[in-house]
């Protein structure tokens, strides 16, 4: 049978060629396929090169078809091999090295090259285009040794290159011939908003500038413009445009205009030879964007396999800029003329802009800046030449009422055969199919299964909407909630990854686990710092920048920027000497209020930041940790030392527990109480751990809370001895430290984990209890009083607590 196979030779191992091959493989196995690629790589996602430059992806990440794929599909791949021509006479493809491969059909998908301006000096060292992995590597290299870069061309590619170089630490100026950026995709309004946003991100611009010469000796040193001004640059990226790569076609005698000329079935002038992608010219147009590749490839695949297909009639151009934090989109007509009805909405506050162009009531184009949620919808409407209706208007421009259901509705009415993922040709029907038949519940699973969202990722919102529509109520249950907006990972997943990968700092965690905001937020950074400290009590270096102000300053900030100071009074017991010092310090430092707290101690309110170290020093008392997610107070009643009802020494035991377990970080603040008898005067029922003495020992309660959501503590167990009490308290604390979510109080933790699990872990399983106790003891060995520590650390004390006073007298 093999001998009977038709021989298909593909010239070009890029996205256009290989996506066509993928389409063909879905339809038939009748071809024996050979692929030639001039680059020494398998097919990779060229549109993601900007992410490689930006550093958010590696080259491996952007490979679309690895070598196994070629093998599995029986495709002969010749990498690093350029084809010189097609010999029509002998029906053979001839490579530059002289290899000859016979064919029945040939597909030319040689793509395009960077257009290098024909100006003096353009051949100097340090001048590159931005098309392939080699260019990308040159740019990454250049950023290591040079600082000043110029990007010629303020189009899509130029801006992505510029952002990448800025990200790599270079000082980048974009030189653009026109007055507007991306003038082939955006109108003046969107272009100026884009420029302002990119300037905020550190890119410089020189607009309306025509480069006339590149200066320098062997290596480029600068640019000279038509007006004779000069810009210094040690590295130049030419991103002025692309040139269809037609060399093979021209050499073979195929009709070539700007690109390789094809008819509506992608046939060239030579029999059996086809062309798709950027090297192709169809009805006078050469496309330089990804979506048309697929449309062309899909039609060609059907045609070549003998499947009925509509002819290719050209593509509506849509553009999205792939720079993180800058959302720009345009489709169809984008410059309004007298023939257009213009709907527009510009919001300087949110920095968003939306413009829709109508011609005779038909939607013919749109531009979006800032918020591009409607991009897919608009692209479809323009492509289908949809008529504007009141409903559409309300859906696109908003009617002032809540439009929660509108997106789902759009997905609902979408026909099954409509293509959702343009890069990989996945229809809505296919996606619905895998959700219902294979039980998929996440976008990632759908990606792995169908390829949708795999390439540019632009269709992800639509795939999500389809998922939501198909799963209905099941969707919420299925979606994962991360610990904050920066990640989709849960607390348990993060802690597991930290351990598995041995991550040591918050920065490492965020980098390795792909945080969307590279340096996290005020929710995740303190949480990560806690988890790291909990996992590595001896080696984790506490990160001050990741501590909330109160914990960083070891004092509670008040609304006017002053602080409060709460010294320890173990078990709520103080001495006349301490009280005298507190009084003296309060007077000396002009403390506004001395407040008796609910935790049986004193709060000095209104201390100036610069006075904090002096106040601590003169109080000469340990920190009460009133500012921390840590053991706060152990409230006690008078107990057996004095009280006639007392059966246990509550003041004594309270002080012992407070001294033993203070200073340790917990997921949230932690309060305790110890009572001498069941009258419970120290209110055990509202504490994280409440202890009630009785005639034969102690009873332990957990998960009480008197705050936002009051909860009575659950009785956990009874113990006979003080030692047993201390060990169980320590084990509960460590179990909570190890399994609690950051900021989760024990009242929530007990309900989440279940009282039975806690009982099993800390009461019934003696070995586990001992192990927990050992771990908390180890952690306790690492802690020290933060006030003393700060008093001994002059440098940090100065920089953290003292303002710089500059006398700049005029």
């Amino acid at each position: 049978m093999n001998a009977a196979k038709e021989k298909l030779v593909v010239i070009g191992n890029g996205m256009a060629g290989i996506s066509t091959v993928e389409q063909i493989l879905k339809l038939t196995t009748k071809f024996d396929i050979t692929v030639f690629g001039s680059e020494p790589h398998p097919n990779y996602n060229r549109i993601m090169l900007s992410y490689v430059l930006e550093g958010s992806k590696t080259i491996d990440d952007i490979v679309l078809n690895d070598l196994h794929w070629y093998e599995d599909n029986g495709i002969k791949l010749h990498m690093g091999t350029a084809v010189s021509r097609i010999d029509e006479q002998s029906k053979e493809v001839v490579t530059e090295q002289g290899m000859r491969v016979p064919y029945d059909k040939v597909l030319i998908a040689t793509g395009s090259n960077s257009f290098i301006l024909p100006i003096p000096g353009s051949d100097k060292e340090g001048v590159v285009g931005f098309r392939d992995i080699a260019d990308c590597n040159q740019m990454l290299e250049a950023a290591k040794s040079y600082r000043k870069a110029a990007v010629i061309g303020g189009g899509l590619l130029g801006l992505e290159a510029a952002k990448g170089l800025v990200q790599l630490g270079m000082d980048v100026t974009v030189v653009h011939l026109m007055e507007d950026l991306m003038e082939r995709q955006l109108d003046h309004q969107a272009a100026s908003m884009l420029k302002a946003e990119l300037e905020r991100q550190g890119i410089k611009f020189k607009m309306g500038a025509q480069t006339s010469e590149l200066l320098g000796d062997a290596r480029v040193s600068g640019l000279r413009f038509a007006d004779d001004t000069v810009l210094e640059a040690e590295f130049v990226v030419m991103a002025v445009g692309i040139k269809p790569n037609v060399a093979v076609a021209r050499e073979s005698g195929i009709t070539v205009n700007r690109g390789i000329v094809v008819n509506d079935y992608m046939q060239t002038s030579m029999e059996g030879v086809y062309s798709v992608g950027e090297c192709t010219e169809h009805r006078g147009t050469c496309y330089g964007l990804v979506a048309p590749l697929f449309e062309q490839g899909s039609i060609l695949a059907k045609h070549i396999c003998g499947v009925d297909t509509a002819p290719y009639e050209g593509s509506v151009m849509s553009t999205k800029l792939k720079i993180s934090g800058v959302d720009v989109f345009s489709t169809g007509a984008f410059i309004d003329g007298p023939e257009h009805t213009v709907i527009s909405n510009k919001d300087d506050w949110k920095r968003t802009y939306k413009k829709i162009l109508l011609q005779d009531g038909i939607i013919v184009g749109a531009v979006l800046f800032g918020d591009i949620d409607d991009a897919n919808e608009l692209q479809k409407l323009v492509k289908n030449k949809a008529e504007m209706t009141d409903e559409l208007y309300a859906s696109l421009m908003g009617t002032g009422c809540c439009g929660g259901g509108k997106k789902t509705a759009a997905v609902e009415t979408m026909p099954d055969e409509e293509i959702v993922c343009g890069c990989n040709g996945v229809t809505k029907g296919t996606i619905v199919d895998v959700i219902t038949n294979q039980g998929l519940t996440t976008v990632d699973e759908i990606k792995a299964c169908t390829g949708a969202t795999r390439s540019c990722g632009g269709c992800k919102p639509v795939v999500e909407q389809i998922l939501q529509y198909v799963l209905g109520d099941g969707f919420t249950a299925a979606t994962k909630q991360g610990i904050c907006g920066c990640t989709t990972l849960s607390r348990d997943e993060i802690v597991a990854e930290i351990q598995e990968k041995g991550l040591q700092t918050t920065k490492e965690v965020m980098n390795v686990l792909g945080w969307s905001q590279p340096e996290g937020c005020s929710k995740c950074r303190p949480a990560l710092n806690y988890y790291l400290g909990m996992l590595y009590p001896d080696t984790h270096e506490d990160e001050k920048p990741s501590r909330f102000v109160n914990e960083r300053m070891a004092a509670n900030i008040q609304k006017d920027g002053t602080y409060t100071v709460v010294p320890r009074m173990y078990g709520g017991v103080t001495t006349p000497e301490e009280l005298k010092r507190i009084a003296d310090v309060s007077l000396k430092y002009d403390v506004k209020v001395v407040k008796v707290t609910g935790g049986q101690r004193l709060d000095l309110i209104g201390v100036k930041k610069e006075d904090l170290p002096k106040v601590w020093e003169e109080l000469d008392m340990p920190s009460g940790y009133a500012y921390a997610k840590s053991l706060r107070t152990v409230k006690t009643c008078v107990g057996s030392q004095f009280c006639r009802f007392g059966t246990q020494d509550s003041m004594g035991m309270g002080a012992i527990l407070e001294r033993k377990f203070e200073r340790l970080d917990f997921p949230a603040k932690f309060k305790m109480a110890v009572n001498g008898c069941p009258r419970n005067c120290a209110e055990s029922c509202t504490k994280d751990i409440g202890i009630v003495g009785n005639d034969g020992g102690w009873e332990i309660f957990v998960g009480g809370n008197g705050g936002i959501k009051a909860r009575l503590a659950d009785p956990l167990c009874k113990v006979k001895t003080d030692d047993e009490l201390i060990e169980i308290v320590g084990a509960i604390m460590q179990y909570y430290r190890e399994s609690g979510n950051y900021l989760e109080r024990t009242s929530e933790w007990v309900e989440r984990i279940g009282l039975d699990a806690i009982k099993a872990n800390v009461v019934d399983d003696h070995e586990n209890r001992k192990a927990l106790m050992e771990r908390i003891e180890f952690a306790l060995q690492q802690v020290e009083d933060p006030w003393k520590k700060m008093l001994n650390d002059t440098e940090h004390r100065e920089k953290l607590y003292n303002r710089l006073e500059m006398s700049n007298q005029l």
Binding site: R200, Q517, E519, C521, K799, M806, S807, N808, Q809, L810
Partner: protein, 117 residues
């Protein structure tokens, strides 16, 4: 010289760069005006009047820094230090100052507020 003029903007000396801890804000007082100075992890330095745009006011210097964003210390508002704009869903704008660093020396320019005393 602890002052210099540039394009009619008055720049004031605000200490040397090593007087600041990376990613931790510090107050610099210039002619009685409190300026919160923020050294970002990438080495850039931003500065704002030490007054939160929140209606209840309060300082800014002690917030948590992430990239060029600041989470204010009292109400956790997210502020873009490149513009001073408060991020959605909250609204407002912090008064940003111009900063330049020359030879390890930080210079800050700001609009003088009239002292009504």
């Amino acid at each position: 010289m602890n002052m210099e003029k540039e394009n009619s903007l008055q720049f004031y000396a605000a200490g040397s760069v090593d007087e600041f801890l990376l990613q931790i804000g510090r107050v610099v007082e210039i002619n009685g005006q409190e300026i919160a100075v923020f050294p970002l992890s990438d080495g850039r330095i931003f500065a704002a009047l030490n007054q939160s745009p929140h209606p209840k006011g309060g300082p800014l210097a002690e917030g948590i820094l992430s990239g060029h964003y600041l989470y204010d210390p009292l109400y956790d508002w997210k502020i873009d230090l490149t513009t001073g704009l408060v991020q959605a869903p909250d609204t407002g704008q912090a008064s940003m100052c111009r900063v330049k660093v020359e030879n390890g020396q930080v210079w800050i320019a700001f609009e003088q507020q009239l002292q009504m005393t």
